[in-house]
């Protein structure tokens, strides 16, 4: 029963995503799935560890270019490409992490933003011979069809991305419920007291940093395979706030906030851009109103109401069950 309850939230959330797939076009669905995987790392860092990161596009680009380099220069199997993208994310996180996680949250935000700018210029200018600068790397035709799930077909790619996202969410739910999740939250609330208990808070932060950025790199790899194209634009300075904005929009630190935020953000972007050229302006104004209405974001505001409703339902079921017990005797 507890196992079922543990999975129930995840199953409901992803069942709703399947419903979206029925009613909305495939590209929109692929976009929200990948975008929500992109955002969950930022959500974990901000909600669990207290790190606001304006550098997530850097790790997104690391994953995307890791995959793109492999598929353009070395191989044709998209699964191997995704694996290489994930490994690139782990390697870069392990290189910069020991330096970055020592910093206070505000400096952490800025140094990550600086990394995004560095990656942008590396890909745009310094490594232009192999990245082709702003023209980007096109490798859609290099990618081989694969058995079982053919990632070159958008509908089958959706199934793969959906399953990958489900696995990511199950992993983050496990983290949230684990001692490690509690340690992360404890370092956010009171760094010193974690040390009183005998924990090395540096190791906790580094592990959280690597996990979050590896997830972001996975999102980058998914983008690369889905689009068959990468360019430095994905890590441009104008894009650095996107995951933070969506995290706040969805609800910081909530498990399903990144999904809700991604649906809302992508939906608003697609809907508004149809009628209004400067859609960023409208989204900016909408965000201000959403923040003023409740700092908890969309899911952060809805979650307590849903929990209260579920609790009432359970309470209402209890006397009925008790009555049934009496009658059976």
């Amino acid at each position: 029963m507890n196992v079922l309850r543990w999975w129930s939230g995840l199953l409901v959330a992803f069942a709703l995503l399947i419903l979206l797939r029925i009613f909305l076009p495939l590209p929109f669905n692929n976009e929200i799935i990948i975008f929500s995987v992109y955002v969950i790392g930022c959500n974990f860092l901000l909600g669990r560890v207290g790190f606001i990161s304006f550098g997530q596009p850097a790790y997104l680009a690391v994953g995307a270019y890791g995959t793109a380099f492999y598929l353009y220069y070395f191989g044709t199997n998209p699964y191997v490409g995704i694996l290489i993208g994930i490994l690139s994310g782990i390697v870069v996180s392990l290189i910069v992490g020991p330096l970055f996680v020592r910093l206070r949250s505000d400096y952490f935000a800025l140094v990550n933003m600086a990394l995004a700018v560095i990656i942008f210029f590396l890909m745009q200018k310094v490594l232009a011979d192999i990245t082709f600068g702003d023209n980007g790397l096109w490798f859609l035709t290099n990618v081989d069809s694969t058995p079982i799930l053919d990632l070159t077909r958008p509908d089958q790619f959706y199934i793969f991305a959906f399953l990958a996202a489900f696995a990511v969410w199950a992993f983050y739910k496990y983290l949230d419920d684990s001692i490690f999740g509690a340690c992360c939250l404890a370092t956010k609330m009171n760094d010193d007291k974690v040390r009183f208990l005998g924990y090395n808070n540096f190791h906790i932060r580094l592990a959280a940093f690597v996990i979050a950025n590896t997830t972001t790199a996975l999102a980058g790899s998914l983008y690369a395979v889905y689009l068959g194209f990468v360019s430095p634009e994905m890590t441009s300075p104008a894009r650095t706030a996107d995951p933070v904005v969506v995290t706040i929009l969805g609800g910081v630190g909530t498990l399903f906030g990144p999904i809700v935020g991604s649906v809302a953000y992508t939906g608003m972007k697609d809907l508004i851009s149809k009628y209004f050229g400067n859609w960023e302006l409208v989204i900016g104004i909408l965000l201000v109103f959403i923040m003023l209405a409740g700092e908890k974001g969309i899911w952060g505001s809805l979650e307590p109401l849903i929990k209260r409703w579920v609790f009432r339902q359970r309470e209402a079921e209890k006397p009925a069950a008790a009555d049934a017990g009496v009658k059976s005797r």
Partner: protein
Amino acid sequence: MSSQVLNVEGLNASYGESRVLFDISINVLDKQVVGCVGRNGAGKSTLLKSIAGFLRPRSGTISSDGVDLVGRTAFGIAGMGIKYIPQDKKVFSDLTVRENLELGSYASGDYNWEPVLEFFPKLKVLIDRKAGYLSGGERQMLMIGRAILGKPKLLLIDEPTEGLAPSIVSHLKDVFRELSKSAALVIVEQNLPMICAISDKIYALNEGRLMAEITERDKITPEFCEPYL
């Protein structure tokens, strides 16, 4: 003969350029309760923080069972069984009582909560409540409960009774007596009746200097210690 759980020699500490402790020397034997009294700003909390590894001393030595503690990290010292319970009663407010205890258990490898719940039965009732919703006394119980997991050899407790109701103070007094059967305790306290009732020795500090070391049982009384407050 009891082993020396804590030995501080010629400790000098400062916050930046501001000197706070001057040539402090104290020692604590196994299972001994040591009170530390003094006015506000006397350096009592700074002494505990220096021992716990939160403040690197300018000079002097701090050792436990012959092992030098100076230069060790706070989590390393906690791992050696020297637990610091700070004054502010700030628990991990977004975590439940259970999660707070789990953090203590995981760090110390001790998952036996029976002693904790025996000392503080109220925590059993509050086990699924977020720690942020606990009263001051309940938070203190949780902090002490979390710290005693793993059977520490030395507890450094900073003003545990500050702002608490007399009934809780009395309960804590009994708990400290019981705890002293298995660990040494250094308690910074301004509540003289309480600290005198349980201490084997009292150190009195004033303006960062050690004014007195009171070891004779008949002198460990509120009346005798009053001038040091």
